[in-house]
């Protein structure tokens, strides 16, 4: 579903990604871990189409299409979803309006009819309940004045509504208390399926207690230096990142 080959990216002439190789197949859950500043968010942003980064080498195909040929919104409509590390506040744009516009844009792309207002609203309400959110969040501005945890829940709510093929979750666990972490994990686990891929980016292994990945990769200085199964995360928890940094330097 997603093939990343030797991906290199830089910003303002600083190389951030130094040749990433990663293959995600439908049904798989991958976790990318790594110290702060290793390039995790950069990778997520490049996949979603943020334009500040210059792609200096390599390729990414998504369902057989060259990802870099697609506009930001085309990637979303093809089924790529990024849950942001820092979701943007957009005052004056209704949360529920955005959800509806987003869902309908994706449906239209798939050749489906737009939702009628009633069906849409009952679906949203069901998902809001599932995410243990108050319905009043639907009528607030997008992320406007939301707490950190509420923003993360809102990202997952959007994901549940959009039902992406591939969900990229950037530090979705950061800033969550244990109850919120459980709810967010419940949302992510609800998305796990044979047709869907999930790429979780995280600094801590805490999240992986709730969402068990099939593969764990360690990103250091813009490169994957080690891959393994979920036990690698436990090893990192015990040993930290230093032994890998040393290995990288050697």
């Amino acid at each position: 579903m997603l093939e990343i080959k030797n991906l290199q990216a830089s910003i303002e002439n600083n190389k951030i990604l130094n040749g990433i190789n990663l293959s995600i197949k439908a049904g798989e859950v991958h976790a990318i871990m790594g110290p702060n500043g290793s390039g995790k968010s950069t990778l997520a942003s490049v996949l979603a189409g943020r334009t500040e980064y210059e792609i200096t080498g390599g390729s990414v195909t998504f369902n057989g299409k060259d990802l870099f040929d697609l506009e930001i919104e085309e990637r979303a409509r093809e089924g790529l979803f990024l849950a942001f590390q820092y979701p943007q506040e957009i005052p004056g744009v209704n949360n529920v309006y955005l959800l509806k516009a987003a869902v309908n844009a994706v449906r239209k792309h798939r050749g489906q009819d737009e939702f009628d207002a009633y069906d849409f609203l009952s679906l949203v309400k069901e998902k809001v309940k599932f995410m243990e959110m108050d319905e009043k969040f639907l009528h607030r501005g997008v992320n406007e004045g939301f707490s950190g945890g509420e923003k993360k829940r809102n990202e997952i709510l959007q994901m549940l509504m959009l039902e992406p093929q591939l969900a990229v979750l950037d530090e979705t666990d950061s800033g969550l208390d244990i109850d919120a972490l459980k709810v967010v994990s419940k949302g992510v686990n609800a998305m796990r399926s044979e047709e869907r891929g999930i790429l979780m980016v995280t600094h801590y292994q805490r999240l992986l207690d709730y969402i068990k990945p099939d593969f764990v990769h360690v990103l250091v200085n813009g490169k994957i230096v080690k891959s393994g199964d979920h036990t690698l995360a436990l090893e990192l928890e015990a040993k930290g990142y230093d032994w890998l940094l040393d290995a990288e330097a050697a």
């Binding site: 189409g49 919104e73 990024l82 004056g92 309006y97 844009a105 994706v106 959009l162």
Partner: protein, 413 residues
């Protein structure tokens, strides 16, 4: 300062000549009208060298094509903005009043008399003088109690190449309240110049909401003034939406005269094509314990220009004043332009005043976020523009008007 030789020099320039010739075609001008003309000509029609008119030329607005309106009849318009209103509506067509208001506590009358509010020295008086010199009938709206029903006044103009001065004087009695919608429209290709003046005398503890929608035709000029006197504990909410016209200059002057009085202002300058939208706002806090908060937003596309000049004055003894003036501007095209100058002039020492202005394009992060959810670039931009613009009228105007404004400005709901 004015001598007769100055006067002559002034008279020679085109715009002054146009106005004095026009005045000569009035059959029986009153003393008030004659005085206003004298004042007008003594000062002269402002030019680009006049400080308060630096960015707005009157060259086209006061052209020698102009004539005065003969009393005529015309088709009474049914404006879509007013369709859904459950309100008392009257139309003022080409200066003539059609219809009546039949609410107890609100009386609308026509009068030949002008009761000008005392003007502060900073106001150059041009619009007022022009209005009084050429006004035929003054509409007097007296609010004497709490009025739940909306009052809607629709000014519509259909006579080409004409100069028309409408005047609306609102007097709100002590403890009264009302919401008044004033809509200004004209035929789209109408190349006329309208000089509407609205005054409000807000009595003690009165609450007046005035919603002024300017949606004139794209060839029409407007030189408008809104002037309010706020007495003790009164609340004046003024929502000003400048949408249409070729050029709209609107002077807003508010004298806060009584303790506990408050002014709340929201203003949208929505420019497209080659429109020029110019608002000059002057708020004078004459006494202590008064408040004002003003939010002015311009959304300018194509080659449109916005001018915003806003000033808060706080007099020496006006302690404990709370005043805030914010001007935020969105430029949607590289040819669009804004000249903005928010200012404070404060002579008291125990006050809380803030002012600021921003000029920008759409927020890149917000655009990225919306597009990452599947909205195309154009749709995402529209969503952000509408959010910005709507903040000037959502929750401040009746919902039927919100809907109409959304439709008029092309915003999806």
């Amino acid at each position: 300062m004015t001598t007769s030789s100055n006067n002559l020099a002034v008279m020679k320039t085109g715009a002054n000549l146009v106005l004095s010739d026009l005045f000569n075609s009035i059959k029986l001008p009153s003393e008030q009208q004659k005085n206003a003309l004298t004042n007008l000509l003594e000062q002269g029609v402002p030019t680009l060298r006049t400080e308060r008119w630096r960015y707005t030329t009157l060259r086209k607005a006061i052209s020698n094509q102009l004539k005065l309106v003969d009393t005529t009849t015309g088709e009474l318009p049914q404006h879509p903005a007013l369709a859904g209103f459950d309100a008392e509506k009257v139309t003022i067509l080409n200066g003539q009043l059609h219809g009546a208001i039949s609410i107890t506590g609100a009386e609308l009358n026509i009068s030949n008399d002008v009761s000008k509010l005392d003007s502060h020295k900073h106001d150059d008086g041009f619009i007022d003088n022009t209005n009084i010199a050429f006004v035929e009938n003054t509409l007097k709206l007296d609010i004497s109690k709490n009025i739940e029903q909306l009052i809607v006044l629709h000014f519509h103009h259909t006579i080409a190449s004409s100069l028309l001065a409408n005047r609306l004087e609102i007097v709100a009695a002590r403890n009264s309240s009302a919401t008044i919608v004033v809509l200004h429209t004209s035929d789209n290709d109408l190349n006329s110049t309208l000089v509407p003046v609205t005054t409000l005398n807000a009595g003690a503890n009165s609450q007046i909401t005035l919603i002024n929608v300017q949606d004139l035709g794209s060839h029409t000029f407007q030189l408008a003034k809104t002037h309010a006197h706020l007495n003790a504990d009164s609340l004046f909410k003024f929502t000003q939406l400048e949408i249409g016209s070729q050029l709209s200059r609107h002077d807003v002057v508010v004298d806060v005269l009584g303790k506990g009085a408050e002014f709340v202002h929201s203003n949208l300058l929505h420019g497209t094509e080659k429109q020029v939208l110019d608002t000059h706002l002057d708020v004078y806090h004459h006494v202590d314990h008064t408040q004002s908060s003003m939010g002015v937003k311009a959304v300018l596309d194509d080659k449109s220009r916005g001018i915003f000049n806003g000033k808060i004055y706080v007099e020496v003894d006006a302690q404990q004043v709370n005043a805030d003036l914010q001007n935020n501007n969105l430029l949607l095209s590289k040819f669009a332009e804004i000249n903005t100058k928010p200012e404070l002039e404060i002579y008291a020492d125990d006050v809380k005043c803030a002012h600021g202005a921003t000029v920008g394009q759409l927020n890149e992060e917000s655009l990225f976020y919306l597009r990452s959810r599947g909205l195309d670039k154009e749709a995402a931009e529209k969503v952000l523009v509408s959010a910005f613009s709507r903040s000037t009228y959502y929750g401040l105007v009746p919902s039927v008007l919100e809907e109409w404004l959304d439709a008029r400005l092309g915003f999806e709901s």
